[in-house]
């Protein structure tokens, strides 16, 4: 039950909560701004944990179940922290036709994780995308926010190895 007038305190003194608060203020402090707020939280913290979801629910006077429902409905939101590096393999139609499934299979095999998971050492997250819109360069892969086109298993492995070497 929302207590009107009482503004919940942020979960911590972390300055990033100020950014979250600003988004909530800008979108009217109501349930309308829920998705925008979750975008801001994820951008600031990298993922949405339960503490953040509860804080957003209280602040926007929305039941926790609805916040959780929205956060899990949309693929873009993640409730788990990602690895230090992310490798996103596009599985759009053009990429699929040009062998993106082989790229994904190769990564699953060499990293021993399924899409959506992070390696045990917290280094690399393997993700898939529905379509990056880089169809002209299929198959496409995003390494840490950077899109690479016409990827083959060789260049994929080289990139992953480069991450490992830089870290050691």
């Amino acid at each position: 039950m929302a207590i009107y007038g009482a503004r919940p305190a942020p979960p911590s003194t972390d300055k990033r909560w100020k950014v979250v608060d600003a988004t909530m203020r800008k979108t009217g402090g109501s349930s309308r701004g829920l998705i925008e707020t979750l975008h801001t939280v994820q951008e600031a913290f990298g993922f949405l944990d339960e503490e953040a979801l509860r804080y957003v629910a209280l602040s926007l006077h929305v039941p926790f179940s609805r916040v959780y429902g929205v956060a899990t409905f949309y693929h873009f939101f993640t409730l788990k922290p990602g690895g230090r590096h992310t490798c996103v393999i596009c599985l759009g139609t053009a990429c699929y036709i040009k062998g993106a499934q082989h790229l994904l299979d190769a990564m699953r095999e060499s990293l021993h994780i399924a899409p959506g998971e992070t390696t045990a050492d917290g280094e690399i997250s393997l993700l898939t995308a529905r379509c990056l819109g880089s169809c002209g360069l299929a198959p496409a892969v995003v390494y840490d926010q950077e899109v690479a086109g016409k990827v083959d298993t060789g260049s994929l492995h080289r990139h992953i190895e480069k991450w490992a070497h830089h870290d050691s």
Partner: protein, 548 residues
């Protein structure tokens, strides 16, 4: 802002451009950016600075030039287009402005890929710097808005759009003029315009390109629409996966507001429109208009039954106009040149041009804009340059997960809403994926069903359960463990899901299966009867290997 002031900005910008004799334009849309075209632009700018040539040579970033597969693309004021340009080529490129063109990097533009196109939506793409409103204005930008606000009534605007014959470019092809007049007649205390930029079809990137290359065109289209229907608030619902498009849209909104072309009391006419951006969060179903509205309201993106249509009861229960990016992008040129001009282009029922994202197993991949009525053969073999590596053409897929796969015998069919629907596909938003003999059509159908199954929002049973069951059967076929009974059941399920689902996602989810069953039944039968995948994609390969 008055018409004279707008004219003044345009004149000053044209003069400033004339004063600089040399210009090098680098494509900085997402396709070329992923080939590091920003580094090319940086190196060119650095080289110009080192040579102290800033006053006679301008380096600028422009939007998509179309031929994404050959990026990074660079065009020069000497009229040449260069492909696969690297930062190391910067010096040579600048030298070439006063000498012979660089043969090594030249990209021929007298080919069908460039010659067969007719650019209306993309007229400024690859020409103007998308981050400068002045360049848009110099290309007659916001002229249509100015004319609408000072010379036309809302009814006249709608009449012009109706005359043009423009139909919704999001896929369904609903007449735009009719939609506008419905919203205009609807009664509500406030009205909204929404731009659907939740381009979710895998294999489609037209809207992203328009937003990245010419964002002001979309804003101008929305402004004209808002004036015509009487809306005062607008939303652009754009995929969060398109950060560059979002950034350029934000810049464009800020610039238009600063010049008084957007916001309160636009050009002193008393007409106001505020536009806000809302980010999608990766749900394909949000491309459906009622789901999109729910998402803007901060809810899970689930559709609801229509009627009431959003034109009557849309965002926050108010009359709402929803159009797709490309639809809005067509509006300014229609107002500028007249609806009759637009109606001359295309076919009897499909007017104007359509932007397609050509991809897959075809030589030239990228973005093209062609007049409606062009044949699939011209698209694939002339503009697309045919199939590489000497392989055989097998199918072209249009309309994404809601569309179908069209076989060689349909190649001479004109590309228009009705003929594509008759053939079992749809126009869709403009993704066009070419497949050759190396693609298994059952596997492709399974791919799309996997997509629909995952993206089904779960609200209605036929779609939620039906897509799962169809995917299960398709998996059994590709695993070579299906029977004739399964094939029959698959057909029945297609019929059921198509006719009983709540929204477009479910209703069209069977299309990829139905079209492949219609044209490529032999492939299904080879899997079921002979445990063989003719394309060698499915696990038959392993079985065959084992049996040898």
């Amino acid at each position: 802002m008055t018409p004279e002031e707008l004219d003044d900005i345009a004149r000053k910008e044209r003069e400033a451009q004339r004063d600089i004799p040399q210009r090098v334009s680098v494509c900085v849309a997402a396709g070329c950016l992923s080939c590091q075209s920003d580094a090319v632009q940086g190196e060119l700018a650095g080289e110009v600075a080192r040579r102290g040539a800033g006053s006679r040579c301008q380096i600028k970033g422009v939007g998509c030039m179309g031929l994404c597969s050959e990026g990074p693309l660079v065009s020069t004021s000497t009229g040449h287009l260069y492909q696969h340009v690297s930062p190391a080529d910067a010096g040579e490129l600048l030298d070439s402005l006063e000498a012979e063109p660089i043969a090594r990097l030249r990209c021929a533009t007298d080919t069908p890929f460039f010659q067969r196109q007719r650019k209306i939506v993309l007229e400024n793409s690859g020409v103007i710097d998308p981050e400068r409103i002045e360049e848009y204005i110099a290309q007659d930008g916001y002229l249509a808005l100015m004319r609408v606000l000072t010379e036309m009534t809302p009814q006249e605007v709608i009449a012009e759009i109706t005359t043009s014959g423009l139909r919704g470019r999001g896929g369904a092809g609903y007449p735009t003029g009719l939609k506008w007049s419905t919203v205009a007649k609807a009664v509500g205390k406030q009205k909204f315009v929404i731009c659907n930029a939740d381009e979710g079809d895998p294999g489609a990137f037209m809207d992203r390109s328009v937003l990245e290359s010419d964002p002001h065109r979309v804003l101008e289209g929305m402004l004209i629409a808002a004036y015509a229907v009487g809306a005062s608030e607008g939303y652009i619902y754009v995929r969060a996966e398109y950060p560059l498009a979002i950034k350029r849209l934000k810049t464009a909104i800020r610039q238009a507001e600063r010049l008084g072309l957007l916001g309160a009391n636009i050009c002193g006419t008393g007409f106001s429109l505020h536009i806000e951006i809302r980010l999608g969060a990766g749900a394909f179903v949000c491309g459906e208009e009622t789901a999109l509205i729910a998402s803007i309201e901060g809810k899970r993106g689930t559709p609801r039954p229509r009627p009431p249509y959003p034109a009557m009861e849309g965002l926050f229960g108010q009359p709402t106009l929803i159009n797709n990016v490309e639809t809005y992008a067509n509006v300014p040129p229609i107002v500028r040149n007249g609806g009759a001009w637009y109606a001359q282009i295309g076919t009897e029922k499909s007017k104007g041009t359509k932007v397609f994202a050509l991809a897959g197993r075809v030589r030239n991949t990228g973005l093209v804009e062609v007049p409606m009525g062009i044949t699939l053969r011209e698209m694939v073999f002339e503009i697309g340059g045919g199939i590489p590596e000497g392989k055989e053409f097998k199918a072209v897929q249009t309309g994404g997960p809601s569309g179908g796969c069209l076989p060689p015998e349909t190649l001479d069919m004109p590309v228009e809403y009705e003929s594509l629907a008759r053939a079992g596909s749809i126009m869709g938003s403009g993704g066009m994926i070419v497949m050759d003999e190396s693609s298994c059509m059952v596997d492709v159908a399974k791919y799309f069903m996997d997509f629909c199954m995952t993206e089904s929002c779960g609200k209605c049973v036929p779609c939620r359960v039906g897509t799962y069951q169809m995917h299960r059967i398709l998996s059994a076929i590709t695993d070579m463990s299906a029977t004739d009974q399964d094939l029959k059941l698959l057909e029945e399920l297609c019929d059921l899901v198509k006719h009983t689902s709540l929204c477009g996602l479910g209703q069209s989810a069977p299309n990829p299966v139905l079209s492949t069953l219609k044209y490529f039944l032999a492939e299904y039968k080879a899997h079921v009867h002979e445990q063989r995948c003719p394309a060698g994609v499915c696990s038959a390969r392993i079985l065959e290997g084992a049996s040898v």
